[in-house]
């Protein structure tokens, strides 16, 4: 199943939860499968990610409607993969967690363009198709997202005590 990893990663960063991401991806794969005819272009990955994004939006709406299940706080996110990586030094781990936290705190419209561009290496056109906004909007959001992430990162770095080496 090509693109399953991309779908899962995207869902995980949309939902900021591994468990929710699994549900979303499962739903998206089923929808993709049933809507097989719906793929007309050539970009299967973008098509799948767009479905993931729609599934996420639907799930959010449902959750908002049912008062029983309150929304998780904005920054809730499971700690990065618990299995410790023997190669990664503890400083690396701190850096990782900081970046995860800062990205998770960005609004979705910023987070998603950053991920699609920087980690999925998609073109503006492809990102526009997934997020359903014009290319110009992709460009301006991307610029704002990059500036926001960098700003927050520098802010923390200035405020944080110096890393002990």
């Amino acid at each position: 199943m090509p693109h399953l990893d991309a779908a899962y990663r995207f869902a995980r960063w949309l939902t900021r939860s591994s468990a929710d991401a699994e549900d979303i991806v499962q739903e998206a794969m089923l929808r993709a499968f049933r809507g097989f005819e719906g793929l007309r272009g050539t970009d299967a990955k973008g098509w799948l990610l767009a479905i993931v994004r729609n599934c996420h939006a639907t799930a959010l709406k449902q959750r908002l409607r049912s008062a029983a299940a309150p929304l998780p706080p904005e920054t809730q996110f499971d700690p990065p993969s618990s299995a410790p990586d023997p190669q990664a030094a503890s400083i690396d781990q701190d850096e990782r967690r900081r970046l995860d936290r800062l990205l998770a705190a960005l609004p979705q419209e910023h987070r998603e363009v950053l991920l699609l561009r920087e980690l999925e290496d998609m073109s503006y056109r492809e990102i526009a198709a997934v997020t359903q906004v014009p290319i110009g909007t992709v460009m301006s959001r991307l610029a704002r997202a990059r500036a926001a992430l960098r700003g927050k990162y520098l802010e923390e770095e200035a405020g944080a005590p110096r890393a002990v080496r």
């Binding site: 990663r9 299967a44 920087e118 990059r146």
Partner: protein, 257 residues
């Protein structure tokens, strides 16, 4: 205060500009401290995200569960461990359940790589669509084939026939170099009414392109002259594409003579 070129600089950084626009922004950045700084910052942010972000692949359990679900969905009663069976056993060895699950898995694989047959066609279509983005259409703008043809000598690996067929309804807009099939292809851009027609030309590979193909509403019409493969891509109708192809083929035949 932000330089007015910052969005364009970002597009340059993201590889979204064509060669001419990229050269222009590089010239601009030479004199603009702000843009040079921005470029460094963009690079830093990218490196940090790619190196440090927690970005794990799909867990194997999820993969297995979805494989099973999709098998069920496709009407096949999935034997347990279906996923393992098709990965470790060639399908012709797997009797019964193994064979069935292999087929089901094949269906699943197929639907996500539906575009797999004809990667060259997909590349051509992608290049055509990319060319329609603002400022991506032409590297050299000219309705004079004496300008366009020599331009290719320095920018592409092939030298296609070029002419302005304005009287016949196909106006020469310009030329562009594009990279695919491991070579620098030459693209001649024509306009027919409201339609842009990209005529790609490259050294023909061993595989023949299908003469006609339709992808995502675009028509692709391919033909060969000597060792050059031509492919016209457009949302114009078949008749219009064939009209241009005929003119180009005749012209090529004249040049050979």
């Amino acid at each position: 205060m932000q330089c007015a070129e910052s969005l364009r600089l970002q597009a340059y950084f993201d590889g979204e500009l064509d060669a001419l626009a990229a050269a222009a922004i590089e010239r601009h950045a030479e004199h603009c401290d702000e843009c040079r700084t921005l470029l460094t910052e963009l690079e830093e942010t990218r490196t940090r995200l790619r190196r440090e972000l927690d970005y794990p692949p799909a867990p194997p359990t999820l993969r297995a569960r979805i494989t099973r679900l999709l098998n069920e969905e496709s009407g096949v009663r999935a034997p347990r461990h279906a996923a393992a069976a098709w990965r470790t056993r060639p399908f012709w060895l797997g009797a019964g359940g193994g064979l069935v699950s292999a087929c089901a898995a094949g269906v699943v694989l197929f639907f996500l790589s539906a575009a797999a047959p004809g990667p060259v066609l997909d590349d051509l279509l992608a290049a055509h669509q990319r060319s329609l983005m603002p400022a991506h259409l032409t590297d050299v703008i000219s309705s004079d084939h004496h300008t366009v043809k020599p331009w290719f000598a320095g920018h592409a690996d092939v030298s296609p026939v070029v002419a302005d067929f304005a009287p016949q309804g196909y106006r020469l807009v310009g030329g562009r170099a594009d990279y695919f099939e491991h070579q620098r292809a030459a693209v001649v851009v024509y306009q027919h009414g409201a339609h842009v027609i990209n005529v790609f030309s490259f050294v023909a590979g061993r595989r023949n392109l299908p003469q006609f193909a339709t992808r995502g509403g675009y028509h692709l019409l391919a033909w060969r002259v000597g060792d050059l493969e031509y492919c016209a891509v457009s949302d114009a109708g078949w008749d219009e594409l064939q009209g241009l192809a005929r003119l180009l083929r005749d012209l090529a035949a004249q040049e050979v003579r």
